[in-house]
């Protein structure tokens, strides 16, 4: 059975992860930084699924399952923190939120 090689999916996942990492490192809006973290989590999911198909092992599908559940928890708590920070400081620009620096 001829399929798209696993390496193609892995390179796609690497590109997606690096784009998420670039967004985390260069963007200033905390909400966009959160979205970029979601991109990185999805790159990990794609890697899990690519190897699950390669090995024919359905346990590889449970990784993405748990990652999605943890991402939901992370988004809920993270966005609550963003709201709390915005209420206290009136901004979500990560350049201006640096009172814990030094």
């Amino acid at each position: 059975m001829t399929v798209v090689p696993t390496a193609h999916y892995l390179i796609l996942a690497a590109a997606l992860f690096c784009m998420g990492m670039l967004g985390v490192l260069v963007r200033r809006n905390a909400l966009v930084v959160f979205m970029c973290i979601e991109l990185m989590l999805n790159a990990a999911n794609l890697t899990f699924l690519a190897f699950a198909r390669e090995r024919g092992d359905v346990v590889g599908h449970l990784g993405p399952f748990f990652i999605i559940a943890v991402a939901a928890a992370e988004a809920a708590v993270g966005l609550a923190i963003v709201i709390a920070v915005f209420r206290n400081r009136g901004t979500v620009n990560i350049e201006e939120i640096q009172s814990m620096k030094h």
Binding site: I11, M19, E38, F66, A69, V92
Partner: protein
């Protein structure tokens, strides 16, 4: 052949969507671009025979999580007038590190054997049950029951934590 075409459509869509997330100024446009990325990724998951995970991806990620993001973006009604990216030495170093990571990862993955066949897929019964909700559930509720229950507790803690953190006065 159709699979090749679909893979490239979904791959280009995914990368374009991710580019939109990090390149546009308006957070709402970023969120919509992220939803598009999740849909293209769900298509990629179907190509990987992970139909159940593709459905969960659309329902939970593109549905629930992104609605939460849009709610918060619109609740905060942010105005952003500065440049999208302010160049500073640390940011340039970060971008260079990202490019180096991508180059090294792609370099490693290109060395993998071509492998355009899946050896176990000759077994038709295994192929027809792979990635179905039935098979996933059979593993999840027996061997992985404790992690599953732990995740339910994690979600409960996250809900309570989100309420406590976001409330004005506890």
């Amino acid at each position: 052949m159709a699979e090749q075409v679909l893979f490239w459509v979904f791959a280009i869509g995914t990368i374009a969507g991710a580019g939109g997330v990090i390149a546009v100024r308006n957070p709402v446009a970023s969120a919509i671009s992220l939803v598009a990325t999740f849909f293209f990724l769900a298509g990629t998951y179907v190509l990987l025979w992970a139909h159940t995970i593709a459905v969960i991806q659309v329902l939970v990620y593109a549905g629930a999580i992104m609605v939460l993001f849009l709610f918060v973006i619109m609740l905060l009604s942010l105005t952003d007038h500065g440049p999208i990216v302010q160049l500073s030495p640390s940011r340039i170093a970060g971008a260079l590190a990202t490019a180096a990571l991508l180059a090294s990862l792609v370099g490693v993955f290109r060395k993998l054997p071509p492998g355009d066949t899946v050896t176990w897929a000759t077994d038709a019964s295994r192929l027809s049950s792979f990635g179905t909700l039935k098979e996933l559930g059979a593993v999840l509720y027996t061997q992985w029951l404790f992690p599953f229950e732990a995740v339910s507790l994690l979600l409960l803690v996250a809900i309570v934590g989100a309420v406590v953190v976001a409330k004005a006065r506890v």
